[in-house]
């Protein structure tokens, strides 16, 4: 006899007897089974099966008297194995196992045959049904004879809970659980909790203000000591099982520190771009880049919307925030734009004129009408700042250290600027008589006037930086001795490469660098009426050619490269040719002719410039020659560093550049750094600026004693793809690029600046074309204005690992996409809105402050509300979305109240089933609303009569009257249905649950278990399980919380014992099973060479069992013996 405790519960099992005695119980299930299957004959048949001692049938086996039949037979010793033929085991296996256990034998001495779902409900012919039922019963009987007793494993349930989704369902579930003393994590992917309910204006049927009833709960949630809110976060991975889930959550980067931010909102006001389409306002309104989605957001923390690095900023070699200053110009904040560029380099004016603008090459707008003139916008802000003649900046406090910078080109000036700002005493040594390097000495004034360079240099000297001109440095040690803590060599490539041809030493032959320098220093040679030949195909050659032209010469350019191959910028070559320069491309120089002075030049045909590996290796055809008569030859065939003096201390490459670590820019001598063209060879200005910046950063770190390697100079996000930006914008207002007006005569005679500046209007219009590729422009205004320094644009997201025992999914719904129904004109006619958009219009904090307005701002005289958009429609969703009739009536009432418009509701049926809903409907009927029963065929703007002109016409069959009507309205509202979230399929895989055919999460049973899922420990709440209104969502959320609490308070959960186990004697150690387990539950005991199953990890799938060659690994409840018995049984008798 079984042992029982004080409550009558069985506490031990009767050991199985040698002879199995099976009891078969066939259920009628009322008429569900008995109406089709002849239950008496099944019982008769069952009695004939070997091992069957008792065979009964009963109306409702699952009822108490039904279960008593089983219990009593066991207690009377008549049976010790039980088979019930009734409904699905997924329904009542647990019930009958319990009954079996109560009877006094192991609950696992039980097997069920499904003769309802699998027989009576699906078989047409009664005879066939009865035969099939017999076969299934036979299978169950044959199987249960070889069942064994098993112990259920108990696992503890972790008391913490994860709630996924922060809408009304998630909030209510979380509060219920937290009020019960459980620690709750609430993960919400938007920046604030609130969900769709926060978007609504009023709720039916009470017409409560949605925010008024929701926000107290949100605040309570945010302040609750047992709730941890993880907003702007998503669940990445879930592992484990009921009671023991491990969840990895990714907290997306807010770029705002949660601890430091006090919610003051100054950053939001300061944002330079306030016109990002607002998701919360359904695209009807705008928000800034740094934003909170709505005023009552919980938590009260802004987030910075960053899609990635904008391509312009990303491409800039110097790291200037190009998008940032464009955005500031657009906002009219020119001084802030200047300061933003200045933050990187003092050379704002120079870059604004002479930079080759790789940013414009990457501008996404290029693929529309043309890129933004980003460089000219930089010039615009530089000119604006310099005109204002600002007061000098006070030099920052000294940090007691000093740095010597050798060379005052872009690299040296930028480095000096960055170091001086950090408090270093900086002295620049410049060999030339004026500072500025190539900017001042080489680039012609028609492109970059000297005054601009001088003004840029002033940005540096104003900080107290000394520049010693006409001072050449050859001895670095001496600088160290005179007290400098570090030295930066940034001497560039001031020396010219020579042609090495006969005649190069004649009078009248100059290098390009010397020629241009003489002009920039105010001593141009007189070339009036002379013929000048410029040798070279690079920018220096073209600059020399165009300068010589302005000095009155007839100019020829001779380049080895063919025109397309010439290294000079293509637009420079074009301009040179337009100015009257003659190009001789693919020619080399054989010799320069003349006695003591240049008289002419002999050219030889160049056939190839680069060899197969792309190295410079010109090939000539000396049989093709040409002579040019000339008075001057300007040689511009290359620039090279002047570093011979440093060769004793520093390591030099073969091309005379200084060897420096590419990341740290440190040379062989620890206190000597090198930057710019002297390291890279001849490059462009922004690359030299970048090196200067990097050098300053590294020198600073080195002098502070910090690690050099591994320090991030410019933390950047990945660049945004052009295609993504273009897809983000549906309509692009066509703004043509401004024509670049360069005025030149065919023979320009002066060095006046060619490119005119942009006017303020041109600058603003150009900046307004920006597509905001990265969304955040990194203009830095929010960073500057934050009183607690809470904003850090280099922030990262991070991952957290949570351990919880139960999970509640409350991920909500998404509205049906009304664009799919083209006949309703959404997206085509401007005044067709979705219900959610109208909610935002009606909401006092929405884009129209509560006004019901058309797109042009006027009030509608008539509004049509179309029900069942995307619902009850075989073409889209067949189901009814449950809330639309009620919210349509609500919107009808509110629209009429606010605007006085005539309102028409077009419905199929009016579904108002909830508490107070019918009464709400009645009340509204008395308000004079028009209700037309019929499915709207189309919304059109094609007028067929004068009253319809300029309005939208709704064409519908009025089924109560029996005619087709055309109803002109001004505004159409589409009552869109509820669909599952777009990523429901992915989410459900994360949590190992299922989705139904419409895509909503599948509940364990639609009637009896609507909040649990087939995965123990995971519960559902709200619209993610199916469309429902707020009262039902809240009720369901409470139910889910209660079920979770039931698990937690029980403390432990019993697992289904269908785990695998190994018969050690039969196991050969072949390891076939080990790699097959998806949960890594099988290991090989190396000592005994036998496989072992970890029962905690084993989930009971049986994959290993099917693979084992020796049958050594078996699965409890589904052993080979048991399954084979069942197969035999279902086939043996019928």
């Amino acid at each position: 006899m079984p042992e029982r405790d004080g409550n009558g519960k069985v506490t031990s099992w009767t050991p199985p007897e040698a002879e199995a005695k099976v009891g078969v119980y066939v259920c009628h299930c009322g008429l569900n089974i008995a109406g089709k299957v002849d239950v008496d004959r099944v019982v008769e048949f069952a009695a004939t099966l070997p091992g069957v001692e008792v065979a009964r049938n009963y109306k409702f086996m699952c009822s108490d008297p039904g279960q008593d039949l089983i219990r009593q037979d066991i207690r009377d010793g008549l049976v010790n194995r039980v088979v019930v033929a009734s409904c699905s085991p997924l329904m009542h296996e647990a019930t009958f196992r319990r009954a079996t256990a109560d009877g006094g034998i192991s609950p696992f001495y039980f097997q069920m045959a499904s003769i309802r779902e699998h027989v009576s409900w699906v078989t047409a012919d009664a005879e066939d049904a009865t035969e099939k039922a017999k076969a299934l019963v036979a299978g169950a009987v044959r199987r249960v004879l070889v069942h064994e007793h098993l112990e259920r494993r108990k696992v503890p349930v972790h008391p913490d809970v994860l709630v996924v989704g922060g809408g009304i369902s998630g909030i209510h579930a979380a509060l219920t659980l937290a009020n019960a003393g459980k620690h709750v994590y609430l993960v919400e992917r938007e920046p604030s909790v609130g969900g769709h309910m926060a978007m609504l204006d009023k709720t039916f049927p009470t017409l409560d203000c949605a925010a008024c009833i929701l926000t107290p709960k949100m605040v309570q949630l945010g302040q609750h000591p047992d709730v941890e809110l993880l907003t702007w976060s998503e669940v990445e991975e879930v592992s484990g099982y009921v009671g023991n889930f491990k969840v990895r959550v990714r907290k997306k980067a807010r770029f705002v520190d949660e601890e430091l931010c006090n919610g003051c909102g100054l950053c939001i006001e300061s944002c330079s771009w306030q016109n990002v389409p607002s998701e919360f306002d359904q695209g009807l309104g705008t928000r800034p880049v740094v934003y909170m989605p709505f005023p009552q957001a919980v938590p009260r923390l802004p987030v910075i919307d960053r899609a990635g690095s904008s391509p312009c900023t990303f491409t800039c070699p110097a790291g200037i925030k190009a998008h940032g200053y464009v955005s500031l110009v657009r906002a009219g904040r020119y001084e802030e734009a200047f300061q933003l560029v200045l933050d990187t380099t003092p050379l704002v004016g120079s870059l604004g004129r002479a930079c080759y603008a790789p940013c414009e090459g990457e501008c996404t707008r290029s693929s529309l009408e043309g890129p933004l003139p980003i460089r000219r916008l930089k010039r615009f802000v530089a000119d604006a700042h310099y005109r204002a003649a600002d007061g000098k900046l006070p030099p920052p406090a000294s940090n007691g250290r000093s740095v010597a910078v050798v060379g005052s080109g872009p690299a040296g000036l930028t480095a000096a600027w960055q170091l001086a700002r950090r408090g270093y005493a900086v002295k620049i040594f410049e060999a030339a008589p004026v500072p500025g390097g190539m900017l001042r000495l080489t680039i012609p004034a028609y492109r970059l006037p000297a005054e601009v360079v001088e003004r840029d240099v002033e940005n540096v000297t104003t900080l107290g930086v000394e520049i010693a001109t006409s001072t050449r440095v050859d001895d670095l040690e001496e600088l160290r001795r005179s007290g400098f803590d570090a030295v930066l060599v940034a001497t560039g490539t001031p020396a010219a490469v020579s042609l090495r041809v006969p005649g190069e030493d004649l009078d009248g032959v100059v290098t390009g660098l010397d020629f241009l320098r003489s002009i920039k220093l105010g001593e141009p040679p007189d070339l009036r009426g002379k013929v000048a030949v410029v040798i070279g195909g690079g920018n220096v050659a073209i600059d020399a050619a165009r300068s010589a032209r302005r000095l009155g010469a007839q100019v020829h350019v001779v380049s080895l490269e063919s025109r397309p191959e010439m290294p000079a910028y293509a637009w420079e070559v074009e301009d040179a040719l337009a100015e009257g320069v003659t190009l001789h491309d693919s020619w080399g120089v054989r010799e320069i002719l003349g006695e003591r002075r240049v008289a002419g030049i002999r050219l030889k045909r160049c056939t190839d410039v680069l060899d197969d590996e792309g190295r410079f290796s010109p090939q000539y055809d000396e049989s093709v020659l040409d002579d040019l008569v000339c008075d001057a030859v300007i040689v511009a065939v290359g620039m090279t560093p002047d570093t011979a003096a440093f060769a004793s201390r520093l390591r030099l490459h073969a091309n005379k550049t200084i060897e420096a670590d590419p990341v740290t820019l440190q040379t062989a001598v620890p206190w000597v750094f090198a930057a710019g063209d002297v390291v890279l060879g001849p490059t462009e200005i922004p690359s030299a600026v970048a090196q200067g910046r990097r050098a300053a950063f590294m020198i600073d770190r080195w002098l502070q004693g910090e690690e050099l390697g591994g320090a991030e100079l410019d933390p950047v996000l990945p660049v945004v793809a052009h295609a993504e930006v273009l897809a983000r914008w549906e309509r692009h207002p066509r703004l043509e690029p401004l024509a670049v007006s360069t005025r030149f005569a065919a023979a320009p005679s002066d060095f006046a600046e060619l490119e005119p500046p942009l006017t303020e209007e041109e600058a603003r219009l150009s900046a307004e074309r920006c597509l905001d590729c990265g969304i955040c422009s990194e203009c830095g205004q929010c960073v500057a204005v934050c009183p607690t320094d809470a904003i850090d644009l280099s922030g990262h997201g991070r991952e957290v690992e949570l351990e919880v025992g139960t999970i509640v999914l409350a991920t909500g719904f998404k509205p049906f996409d009304a664009r799919r129904i083209t006949e309703y004109g959404y997206g085509t006619y401007p005044n067709v809105y979705t219900s959610l958009e109208v909610e935002r219009l009606l909401n006092a904090s929405g884009p129209t402050q509560g006004e019901v307005a058309l797109r042009d701002g006027t009030r509608p005289a008539a509004v049509g509300i179309i029900h069942c958009v995307g619902s009850r429609d075989v073409r889209y969703n067949a189901y009814c979305s449950r809330v639309c009739c009620m919210y349509s009536l609500k919107l009808a009432h509110l629209i009429r109240e606010r605007s006085g418009a005539e309102v028409y509701n077009f419905y199929i049926d009016m579904r108002t089933p909830g508490k107070g809903y019918e009464e709400f409907y009645e009340k509204l009927l008395k308000e004079g609303m028009h209700l037309i029963r019929g499915r709207v065929a189309e919304v059109t703007d094609w007028a067929m009569s004068p009253e319809e002109e300029g309005r939208l016409v709704i064409r519908v069959e009025d089924t109560l009257v029996g005619t087709v009507r055309r109803i002109p309205v001004d505004m159409v509202v589409l009552a869109v249905g509820l669909e599952p979230q777009g990523d429901a399929e992915d989410v459900r895989r994360l949590f190992n649950i299922g989705c139904g055919p419409e895509g909503f999460f599948t509940e364990r049973h639609p009637k009896l278990a609507p909040v649990s899922t087939f995965t123990d420990g995971v519960f559902l709440a709200g619209a993610c399980q199916g469309p429902k209104d707020i009262p039902d969502s809240v009720a369901q959320a409470g139910a889910a919380a209660a079920e979770a609490l039931a698990l937690i308070d029980r403390g432990a959960v019993e697992l289904e014992p269908s785990t695998a186990f190994v018969d050690a004697a039969a196991c050969s150690g072949c390891r076939t099973c080990v790699p097959l387990c998806p949960f890594a539950a099988i290991t090989l005991d190396e000592a005994r060479k036998i496989a072992e199953v970890n029962e905690v990890l084993c989930k009971g799938c049986g994959i290993c069992v099917a693979a084992c060659p020796s049958g050594a690994i078996q699965q409890h409840l589904f052993t080979d013996e048991q399954v084979l018995a069942e197969i035999e049984g279902v086939l043996a008798y019928a």
Binding site: T48, S88, P89, L90, M91, S114, R116, E117, H118, V119, W121, V122, T123, A124, D125, D128, A129, E131, K132, A135, L136, G139, R989, N992, G994, C995, G996, P997, T1002, F1014, S1058, L1076, P1078, F1079, K1099, G1100, C1101, G1102, I1103, V1105, A1106, A1107, Q1115, F1118, D1120, V1123, L1124, E1126, I1127, E1128, V1130, L1131, A1132, Y1133
Partner: protein, 161 residues
């Protein structure tokens, strides 16, 4: 043949191995939806289609099944992540083995049926029943069925000393 004997049409017997999470639930859904289908399929429930041992399939044929149907979750949806892929591999090998044994390939069928596809259960059962009906009964040496066939003659067994 006497006039009273009517030739019975051949009714195939098909054994189906359904996984609990998807296919068995789909079959339940077919029942709840009252979708009628051919009664020839007898379902054996397993936790996962990956549990289907090739010897189960062979045992089914041996014991008199004319066809075997294996049902699992769609690839990517297996409750145990990859069991259905194991089932697919074994199914492919089995098919080739059965071909060698002269068993037509239509007699073994593998279907992915999700828990929401009650209608697919109906369709597949009907289709397979028809297909196997056209193929006719599977002719293998019969396993003795003492309760249906004639009682076997008892053989004397020599016991070695």
């Amino acid at each position: 043949m006497p006039d009273s004997v009517v030739e019975q049409p051949f009714e195939p017997r098909i054994v189906a191995f359904f996984c609990t999470w998807c296919t068995y639930t789909a079959a339940d859904l077919a029942g709840i939806s009252r979708l009628e289908y051919a009664p020839n399929v007898r379902v054996v429930r397993l936790m996962c289609s990956g549990r289907v041992d090739p010897q189960f399939v062979l045992a089914a044929f041996r014991h008199g099944a004319d066809g075997v149907l294996v049902g699992g979750c769609h690839p990517g949806d297996c409750h145990y992540q990859q069991g259905n892929f194991n089932a697919l591999r074994r199914f492919e090998l089995l098919r080739q083995t059965l071909e060698e044994l002269g068993i037509e390939e239509e007699r073994l069928r593998l279907e992915w049926i999700s828990a929401a596809e009650g209608d697919k259960v109906q369709r597949v059962c009907n289709e397979m029943t028809e297909q196997v009906r056209r193929l006719g009964p599977l002719r293998l040496s019969p396993v003795p069925r003492p309760h249906v066939d004639e009682p076997q003659v008892e053989l004397a067994v020599e016991v070695a000393p």
